[in-house]
Symmetry: C2
Subunit: 381 residues, 2 copies
C-alpha cells in the first residue's frame, strides 16, 4: 500500500501593540484585543509581583478595567500573583496553579490568559496556557525592557526542568502582545540596563545602522530617557519579529541567529545560580563571542573595541569569575543538545555581518576569556 505523504500548514497572526497605561479605563488596546477574539469574554490574569508596586496598585487597576469593560472582559478569578525571575520557571507549582485555575474556572481554548510581567512570568504562563486544552489564548503584557524587545514577542513558551533552562516548552504564537511602556518605570536600574543587551545582539547580527543608533544613544538610554528607550524597544521588536516571520519560526533547522551569544549566556546563568539576569548573561556572552571572533582573526580590532565599548556604555558587565570555570565549555554541548542537530554558533566578521561556524576551539575560547578578564576591574558582576 502506498505511503501517504501528509502536509500540514498553519498560519498565525498576532498584533504587537505599543501603548502607555494599558489598564487606564480609557485605553482600548486590551479591550479591542479581547473583542477581536469573538464572543469569549472569560479571562484569567497572571501577574508578576514585580509589577505590583505600591504606587501602581496594579491589581486594583485590572479590577477597575474589567468592571468598566465588563461587556467584553470577564475576569474569572482574582489574578494569580507569582514571583518574577527564574523561581517561577524552576518550581513546578506555579505552572500547576495556572493550569489548575484554567481547569477550575472554565477557561476554554477561545478564552484568555493575560500574563503581565517579566520574561520568566510570561514564559511560565505561556507554557501553562499552551499545554492546557492544547492551547488557550495567551495575551502578553511584558513589563521589562528585555521582555518588551525580545522574549515577550516571540513564539516560545517554557519552564525549567532537570536543572536545564527551558527544558520543557512549546512553540506557540501568542494571541496578542501589548507593550505598555509605563510598566518600565518601576524597573530597577539593573533590569533596565540588562534588557538592552538583546538590542545590541539583534543590531550586531541584523542591522549596522541600528547599532550606530545604539552607539549614539547609549547614554540617553542609560539615563532612562523615555523616547530613547521606546525607540530602542520598537526597532529591536521590529527586527526580532521580522526574523521570526521569516524562515523557520519553529526552529526545525540547526541555525539560530537570534541565539547569538546565548550558548555562554545560558550556561553562565546556571553557573551563577541565576545571580546574573538573562540580559546581563547575554551581554557577557556577546562580549565573549566577539572577543573569540577577534582572537580567531575574523573581526577587526576596531569593530571588536566598538562593540565592547557599547556594552560598557550601556552599563553591562563584561565579566564574571564563572567564565573561568572548566564547566563553561559544557555550555556548547548543552546548547547543541537543546537546539538539536549540528553545533551551530554565530560569530561576527563585522557589525551586521554574522558567520556560522560549527566548531569552537577550546584553547582559543580560553584565550578569549583571559582577554575579557582584563575588563573585570571595570565591569564585572
Amino acid at each position: 500500500m502506498e505511503t501517504i505523504h501528509q502536509r500540514v500548514r498553519t498560519e498565525f497572526h498576532y498584533p504587537v501593540h505599543f501603548t502607555r497605561r494599558a489598564f487606564d479605563t480609557g485605553n482600548m488596546a486590551l479591550r479591542e484585543v479581547i473583542a477581536s477574539g469573538g464572543n469569549s469574554r472569560r479571562t484569567l490574569f497572571v501577574v508578576d509581583e514585580g509589577v505590583c508596586t505600591p504606587k501602581r496598585n496594579f491589581l486594583a487597576q485590572i479590577e477597575d478595567y474589567c468592571r468598566f469593560h465588563a461587556d467584553v472582559i470577564e475576569s474569572v478569578a482574582p489574578p494569580i500573583v507569582v514571583p518574577g525571575g527564574e523561581t517561577v520557571k524552576n518550581d513546578g507549582r506555579y505552572v500547576d496553579s495556572v493550569r489548575s485555575a484554567i481547569h477550575a474556572r472554565g477557561i476554554c481554548r477561545h478564552s484568555f490568559v493575560v500574563a503581565a510581567g517579566g520574561g520568566a512570568t510570561l514564559d511560565m504562563a505561556g507554557y501553562a496556557a499552551a499545554t492546557s486544552h492544547r492551547g488557550v489564548r495567551l495575551i502578553r503584557l511584558p513589563s521589562t525592557v528585555l521582555a518588551q524587545n525580545d522574549s515577550g514577542l516571540g513564539v516560545k513558551t517554557s519552564v525549567n526542568r532537570f536543572s536545564k533552562k527551558n527544558f520543557l516548552g512549546t512553540f506557540t504564537p501568542p494571541f496578542a502582545v501589548i507593550n505598555d511602556f509605563e510598566l518600565l518605570d518601576s524597573l530597577l536600574e539593573r533590569d533596565w540596563r540588562s534588557g538592552t543587551a538583546e538590542a545590541v545582539k539583534v543590531a550586531l547580527i541584523k542591522d549596522q545602522e541600528f547599532f550606530r543608533w545604539i552607539e549614539a544613544n547609549a547614554v540617553l538610554v542609560v539615563e532612562r530617557n523615555s523616547s530613547a528607550i521606546e525607540q530602542l524597544i520598537y526597532r529591536c521588536a521590529q527586527l526580532h519579529l521580522q526574523h521570526i516571520g521569516g524562515g523557520d519560526p519553529f526552529e526545525t533547522g540547526s541555525s539560530r541567529p537570534l541565539d547569538f551569544g546565548h550558548w555562554a549566556a545560558h550556561k553562565l546563568e546556571q553557573l551563577t545560580n541565576y545571580r546574573l539576569r538573562h540580559g546581563e548573561a547575554v551581554g557577557i556572552g556577546i562580549a565573549l563571542d566577539v572577543t573569540y571572533s577577534h582572537v580567531m582573526g575574523m573581526l577587526s580590532a576596531d569593530a571588536w573595541q566598538r562593540i565592547l565599548g557599547v556594552l560598557l556604555d550601556l552599563g553591562l558587565p563584561l565579566y564574571v569569575p564563572e567564565l573561568e570555570t572548566s564547566d563553561l565549555l559544557k555550555g556548547l554541548t548543552e546548547f547543541r543538545e537543546h537546539l538539536g542537530g549540528e553545533l551551530t554558533i554565530l560569530l561576527l566578521e563585522d557589525v551586521g555581518k554574522p558567520v556560522e561556524v560549527h566548531k569552537i576551539s577550546a584553547d582559543k575560547m580560553k584565550e578569549s576569556v583571559a582577554v575579557l578578564s582584563q575588563y573585570a576591574p571595570v565591569c564585572s558582576l
Copy 2:
C-alpha cells in the same frame, strides 16, 4: 507607535507508511525514516506492554533491528515499557519517565522518540516528546486498529489531568507514522472491533461510498480477514489525513467534524471509569447522535437503521447504563469547554451529509437515550 502585525507560517510534512513486520531486519521503513532526518541516529524507544507478547518478543526484535542498522540508528537506552490504556495518560509518572530519559540520554530536537503501542501510549509519549526541548521528533508505530486508522495519524498529543481527558496536550505533527499491520495480530477481539468505530465515523461524515463498503465488508472485518481490515484502515487513514491537511489542523475554530459522536464518547469513558474502550464509546456516541438526528426529524428512519445495523454488524455495543445518568449531558459543556468557542455538534441528515448545530435539546436527547436503551438486551457493555 504603530502596531506591528506579525504573521507566522509553518509547514510540516510527514509520511504515513503501511507495512508488515517493521522490525524484521530487512524492513527498510524505520531505517529510511530515521536516515531522512539528517545525521542524528539517537533514538529512544517507548513501548506499550500490550505489544510485548511472548510470541512476538518485541524488545528483542527492536534490539536486533538497531544492531543490524547501527550505521543509522542508535538505541540510547533500553526501551521504556509502559502499560497501555488510560493508565499511562492518567498517571503523570509515565510522562515524567520519558522526559527524564530524554534529558538523561541526550535526546535532542533532531533525535528521535519512537513510540510503539495503542493510542494512549502514543498520546503520552507524544506529549512528552512535544514538550521536551520544545519538540523532539516523534515516530509513531500504532499497534491497534483505532490508532492505525485514527488517533496515531494526526497532530495531537495529550495526557489526562484534573480527571479531564486530554486536558494537557499540544498540536504537534509527528516526524513519521509507520502502520505495521502485523502488530494487529495480537489484539484482543474487543480491541479489534472497537477500532472500527472511527472508520464508521469518518465514513458517515465524509464518504457515502466508504460507508457502503463497510456495510458490505463488516462480516469479513469482524472475522479478522487481513485484506479487509487493511483496506478499512487505509481508506480511513486517507480520509482522516485529508481532513487534517485541509482547513484548520490546529483547531482554532469551533467546528470539529472529526469529533462526530465524541461529546458523549468522552463523557461515557469517564462515567464508566474507562471500562469502555475509546472506540466502543465512540460507537455508542455515534449511535446516540444519529438517534437524536432521527428523533429531531433530520435523518430518515431508513438511514438511521442502516447506521445502527452497521455498528451491530461490527460487534460494537450500542448501549451502556451510564447513558441514563444525569451527568451525561455535562459532557456537552465539557466538550464545548475543551474545544473552545461556541458549542458545535455534528448531526446527520444522511450518510455522508453532516450538519452543524449549536444547540442540543436535553429532553430530546433523553428521549434518544430511551430509544437506544431498547438495544440494551442485544448489544450493551
